[in-house]
Point group: C2
Chain length 110, copies 2
C-alpha cells in the first residue's frame, strides 16, 4: 500500500536503489555536478546556481547528506559542501559492478 517492501529484497538491491534514488532528481544531479566542478568546497552559492527556493535546496542537500554522499561543514555563517570521496567511490563501484556485466541480449531476440 505505497510502502516499498524493503525487507523482501537483498541488501545489495536496497542499497543500490537507495543510491540511485538519490541521483533520481535533476536538482541533486545538478548539486553533485556543481560540487564536482569545483576544486575547492562550495560555500553557500548552491542556492544561486539552482532554480529552486532556499528551503528546497536545503532539503535536497539534506537528502544527499543523509546517505553520506556529501559532507557539510559549518564555516562561519555559511556551510561548505563537498563530495564524500569514500562514499562517492563506493557508489561508483556498485554501479560499475552492475553495468560491467555483458548484455547478451541484443535486439528483439525472443
Amino acid at each position: 500500500m505505497g510502502v516499498t517492501k524493503t525487507q523482501n529484497f537483498t541488501e545489495e538491491q536496497n542499497t543500490l536503489a537507495l543510491y540511485a534514488k538519490a541521483l533520481g532528481h535533476p536538482a541533486r544531479v545538478a548539486i553533485l555536478q556543481h560540487l564536482l566542478q569545483r576544486t575547492t568546497c562550495v560555500c553557500g552559492d548552491l542556492v544561486e546556481v539552482l532554480p529552486l527556493a532556499q528551503a528546497t535546496v536545503s532539503q535536497h542537500l539534506k537528502e544527499l547528506k543523509a546517505i553520506g554522499l556529501i559532507n557539510g561543514t559549518v564555516e562561519g555563517t555559511s556551510v561548505c559542501y563537498c563530495i564524500n570521496k569514500h562514499k562517492w567511490e563506493e557508489v561508483r563501484d556498485m554501479l560499475m559492478t552492475m553495468f560491467a556485466a555483458p548484455v547478451s541480449c541484443d535486439q528483439k531476440c525472443c
Copy 2:
C-alpha cells in the same frame, strides 16, 4: 507545489535523473539483475522471482519499458523480456561520465 521543475534544469541533468530514478527501486534493480544473469530472454518467470504481486511486477516492468531500458516481446501467451543493449550502454556511459571525474575534496576540508 510538488512538481519537479524539469524545465529549469539541463537536458543532461533531467535525463540522468530519469535513468537513476528507474534504478531507484529494489524491485527494478532485481528485475534488471535477473535479466542480466540470463543469457536468454526471460519469459514470464519474473513474477515468481520477485516478492510482489503480479500487478505490481507488471507496473515496474512498464516503467523500465517506458524509458527504453528493457524490451518486451509477446511470445504466445507470455512475454519475453530482455535488456535493451543500446539503452543500457547509454545509461552506463552517462553514469561513467559523471563518476569519472576526480573528486578533489577528500575529508572535511572546508
